[in-house]
Symmetry: D2
Subunit: 355 residues, 4 copies
């Protein structure tokens, strides 16, 4: 089946292909009375928008969102919020070769194996273009959780990581890489430029932190906060790994080294560490919620790769056209959006059960 809805009580459903007339989303279950206009959504879309630097795809999409329903006199009414973005810059001519042969690393072969055929134009439904609607839905979700501040950044590109000693959240918006370490940003400029010029691509690691999450959000056992976040993040195109808190590093620690000791604080407990990433037993502890996400390198590369055609013959394919040399970079606003959507959903779920 196809399950294009995410969430339990604050749910969003997306539709649309890379080269269809439009992409859209329906956000359902939003509390009434929240001030909402296109102006609340557009800045997040602009942050994700392609074509803003030479380090992302040169496709030019204004990504102007329209609210079609669910808002009256500037406030949410509690009814479903329809969101629509017209596709403007589709160049279908670029994609003729893709119709005939499978691009390794892409969804091409898997979609054909599942559905029998596919909309091959720009990746069709499997295009990262869909994430624009997540960003739009996420902007709505943020209104549901004003107590929470969400910040994501790129932690590493192509294996070159930032130095957390130089971490400056204020720097994240000052470079095209969402990089909080100004020195790393300089290095990445060369790194990504080289990859781009070579027709190659690079992977990336994104980190995301949500501050201000009160203790008690999360829905054990099978909608645990960490489980929902893992699902949300792993559903983003090109993501291959998710960690909560220390993640895989925790597997190498002793119980003593991994313990987040507590002491009395001004407002509830004060934690002396946050190895757990703000989640215990699937429920938020009041510490910042921390997630790390691994993005594989963009599968579209100019180097020819061995493949097969739709009819099963051996072939080679080079993926020409406009691509992100490092798809992880534009993942930052998407990761933030998914964090907002999960937290908003869990806030409402917590309110349902625990009043």
């Amino acid at each position: 089946m196809s399950f294009n809805t995410f969430g339990r009580v604050l749910r969003f459903t997306t539709f649309g292909e890379s080269h269809g007339p439009a992409i859209g989303a329906v956000v359902d279950g939003c509390p009434p009375g929240l001030e909402l206009s296109e102006g609340d959504i557009q800045p997040f879309l602009d942050k994700r928008r392609p074509g803003q630097s030479r380090f992302t795809t040169q496709r030019q999409e204004p990504d102007q969102v329209r609210i079609l329903s669910g808002v009256f006199e500037g406030r949410t009414t509690g009814t479903p919020i329809g969101l629509l973005i017209d596709n403007v810059d589709q160049r279908s001519k670029d994609y003729s070769e893709v119709a005939a042969a499978y691009r390794p690393g892409h969804a091409d072969y898997a979609y054909d194996a599942k559905y029998g055929f596919r909309d091959y134009r720009g990746g069709g439904r499997s295009s990262a273009r869909e994430t624009a609607m997540r960003v739009a839905a996420g902007a709505v979700a943020r209104l549901v959780i004003p107590e929470v501040t969400i910040t994501a950044w790129v932690e590493a590109i192509g294996g070159d990581a930032i130095d957390y000693a130089k971490f400056d959240a204020g720097e994240i918006g000052n470079n095209p890489f969402f990089c909080p370490d100004p020195d790393a940003a300089v290095r990445w400029e060369a790194l990504v430029d080289d990859a781009r010029k070579a027709g190659s691509s690079l992977g990336a690691v994104i980190a995301c932190e949500a501050a201000g999450v009160p203790p008690g959000w999360g829905a054990p056992l099978y909608a645990k906060l960490d489980s929902e976040l893992a699902s949300a993040m792993m559903s983003i195109n090109a993501v291959k790994g998710v960690e909560i808190g220390d993640g895989f590093a925790a597997a190498a620690l002793s119980g003593e080294a991994n313990a987040d000791a507590m002491r009395p604080g001004a407002n509830g407990p004060e934690f002396l560490a946050n190895h757990a990433g703000g989640i215990a037993g699937g429920i938020s502890t009041g510490q910042p919620v921390r997630v790390r996400i691994a993005f594989k390198p963009t599968s579209s590369i100019l180097t020819p790769v061995a493949t097969i055609t739709r009819t099963g013959e051996a072939s080679e394919i080079r993926t020409k056209g406009r691509h992100d040399p490092c798809v992880g970079i534009r993942g930052v606003p998407v990761v933030e959006a998914m964090m907002a959507l999960v937290l908003a959903d869990q806030k409402l779920l917590h309110r349902a059960q625990c009043g």
Copy 2:
């Protein structure tokens, strides 16, 4: 809310606390006509059962499962399968201290913050004891996917990893660590013994592979196969990270190095690599599905850790009693069960949409 159900069309629901009278599960949506008896489930429970070596908790639970419904004359009827395991070896006296103070790393504080109070006996609902029901449900799921072979093993304990050059699947059952590398198994014996004697604990990494998954399983976009697996694995107690295929390592690769090239094979395409872990665009490719999972060290340790009491005073807590020095070890059958449950669900979903 509390969401104790997992799955889309093949769903299971669990209930029960560590020290209540019983734990149980309901498996709903199972196809009719499959041969099923307690004998099909018990071996998997035995594999997970505590108290089998000195490297796991000494709690003695026979974990005898009873099928209460959904089976008639030895075959599944298509109606819900009720499964029940009586709790036998509850020693509630061990847990008095836990009622008063929060064990760092455990769900204690988070549950209290969410629900106002908690069943503190043996971790209550947040105990890993619940995973017995996942294993039981997973045994049913395996019957739904006879074409698939699932194998999990421990890849590292406390940061000491196996050597894949020595990998021998036949060794996994020959040691108490589900270790495929006999040399590592010897090392781990000392490692875990030391931790156990010191009242300390160790983290672990588990790897799991499902062979025989045909191409086409997976439900984009928000029930992608990788997304569902991430959710399933992250819902297991103590798990802090999930990778599909190369996972975080892929983030350091170039597009060329990460490409899973294809060539014509005897039965459909033959892949020259499996960086993707058998999943592209959220859909299986026909390659083995590969997942890695990070388990944090058991939070129950003998070393005193600073904490607070229920009433907010500073305190210290040592977790006495019977614990797994490395909870990841017993995670192996649980990981396999979750893999089976996700794949069986996706198989049925695929059949629903694509016939």
Copy 3:
């Protein structure tokens, strides 16, 4: 598929067959801190219990419920509540004929057509015995909505209706028919006795009212309060019709005659009529919620009916054994339970979205 779960955030799942070892339910999403013991559930089960008068089946089931989880020190913990009732009085020998031929009006043929075979003992999963678990779950749901008073009664048996001029809620518990009109109760005694002695059966109409539902519960558009009630009631064995408020009678009214005019009242609006049955636009209005439910006559009758065998030959079948001459009578506590379950779920949903 088989979907044995009902509800959105307060959900219950049932399992069990008429002649299996036990039947059970899991109630998930219950708010924490509610006082709950077997004593809160048992009275409702006793009300539904068979064998209490000659007007219901003579099967003797004590229907003693056990709470297996989700309650600690007498209060709900917020974790799933496992409920179990052992089957005691199964006489499998009564059902040999049913294995071979299909009883018209029963689920026999449909189950075989769907699943290929069935547990034919006592109707297996399609037995009204399952409704015991709804009643048990409903008893939990009532604790979630203490502001609501739910009353159901039998309005007609075999086409003989009560006289609402003689309606006395206090009479409902004074006769074996849940009849609020003492004169009708006398008539029904003869009516049902005649049917019972003749090996025949009778249909019934049940009415149910929930007083105290505040305005605002309901989840448009596809989980409207009336839509959920219709689904809940139609899921009960033998139910063939559901009405909200005036129901089919409203279809014969003019707009003027059907208008529920309002005027200012002490606590919000005062309604001058309740044609709508307390629901407008799928949302409660604060008036009593009113539902009517049609039960067909028990399909098990002694008169031989033409049928076919499993292998397709012509045959005749008389349904011997212990049966309710009017299955609608014991529907009263089941209808009340479903009302409670729907309202409790909607209360929590309302709280989730609207705070």
Copy 4:
């Protein structure tokens, strides 16, 4: 909460208000490879379209649907199908009075009680305009069940019923009332004209039959075919009652009179009656599935009705503007659409579990 999604695996989500810029739907889970264009949907929308005779509202909406996604080269791809209809003929000036006072029988008060405020223009989200999207989604669902023929008709208006002896399915399309009895159609012309001229309104009963449903569709226990149909029909604006087969009439029958006897037929069993409406135990029997639905009279009438204002004062309201004198008439294509959507969903569910 707001739950604007219907279905289990073939799901549709709608959004949009009566006087917003557009209404839309997302149909998710549709099998791939089905031929689909706007031309497959438009005829059903045309059937429901307002302003086609003097017996329906004079609002002029072309209701031109656009497919925004999920179709490629004329066939469904298996990805979500986005559907959009622009609102053209909104006259917001008509609705000023409604902003201030509650129209009895409408959702006005209930929406305010739930959400705190509402989009009062043309009923906002609670307008029957939303049903256009159900009709559009239903047209897609029909493609999933080509073996099924769905026919609905008006059986009674204002209490004046057709004579089934004169039933002629070919007549249904020959009059503006979807009336299969030509004599009744003549009578209804006068009846509805009178109501329209008097500013009054009338209720209606719709009957719907689905022929060709094979035995075995349905998902016990809580997604039974009858339960799902009841939910689907009761979710339609103005519906107050639903019957399967004989419905309430069955409650007055004896078991003998209600039995649907069987005998061997050319293709499986042949039934000698269909009191059950084609469903037993929640599963289709292979007989035609029969549903009856009661529509209350349109709540919008010219006669002044006592009400209260938003601020709680006594008032009177006459509902001027463009209204259907009998909203049940245009319910016919909506009922057919919901029937198609439920059956298509159940077909896919059946395939998932039973192959």
